[in-house]
Amino acid sequence: MNKITYTPRVITAAVILILGFIIAAVPKNTTTPFKLTPNQILNELKNGNQYLEPDMIAQMIVEKNPSLQLIDVRPQSEFEKFSLPGAINIPIDNILSPEYTDILHQDVMTNVFYANGTTHANEAWMLVRQLGYLNNYVLRGGLNYWAETIMNPQHPANTSPDDELARYDFRMGASQALGGGALTTSAPADAPSASLPKPKPQGKKKKVAGGCS
């Protein structure tokens, strides 16, 4: 038998192995239940946590943000007539079908439900939220509001605050980039371009910055 010598390597290896076995053996700290109670969902609904603003979605579409997944919950016939760029169709009747579980229950993509109004999209959201799935959202106002704000934005009064004008510029740019809408620009004549100013950050939760970028 060799005598064990207590070199730094042996000590380090022993310590990290012991800690490794401990951490492998203890269950993960999961204080949040997998399924939500109706009260919790009601609370989220009241706070409107599930809504994402059309401006933000338009920005993501224009940027071709790879994490955006639009989900059209209207019947297939309506989906075929018109849909947002890159959207997939999951009619609300089929939302619980197992073939869509992989799409709805994941943590890579930001899923955004939409229909003409918000009722069906909200129903879809409540169903999947009740199952504890994360990263599912609802397009605020649905397609009707989308058409009003993004595709045919109304020019705000000239006395409006600057950020309202900026938002209008952004929407004009977005609607042109998405191939729709009118062809007027906000500033008279000398407007240089319809570039896309960044919309104000949305959402209450702070996003974690990080990485080497």
Binding site: P8, T12, V208
Partner: protein, 165 residues
Amino acid sequence: MNPYLAGVLLGLVVLASNVISGRGLGASGAVKSAIVAGVETIAPGHAESAPFYKKFGDSHNGNPLNNWLVYEMLGVIVGGFVSGAMSRRLTWRVEHSPKITSKRRLAFALAGGILFGIGSQFGRGCTSGSALSGMAVLSLGGFISMAAIFGTAFAFAYFFRKNWI
């Protein structure tokens, strides 16, 4: 310092960074900030039109140099200097194998730097930002970067052996 002890201390720095700021360490990101700041100063028109700078501007607000990674890298320079001073290692010199000239060493250092600069942008972080910090949070990308960096370096070690041994 014993390497394992140094490793534990390094781990505590990464841990502190995650607990305080919710992120790992980085180095190449600071170079990127400096480049963006430089281009914005020298050629503002170009910085507005070229997609790379626009993308950076979209995801960062204000002065590109007012950035977590930039402050952290300033700290690295101070920390390295203090450590070097304490261990009496402060000298201007080119470190190289006795078999090669200083000039050759400097040329290879420059080439290596260029490659690392390009690679760190593709990899979205360098050895510290992507591999070390990524592994600490068990990020899949961190493990891929680590394996790719060290694997390639091992694979190419033979061709560069004259420079080192």
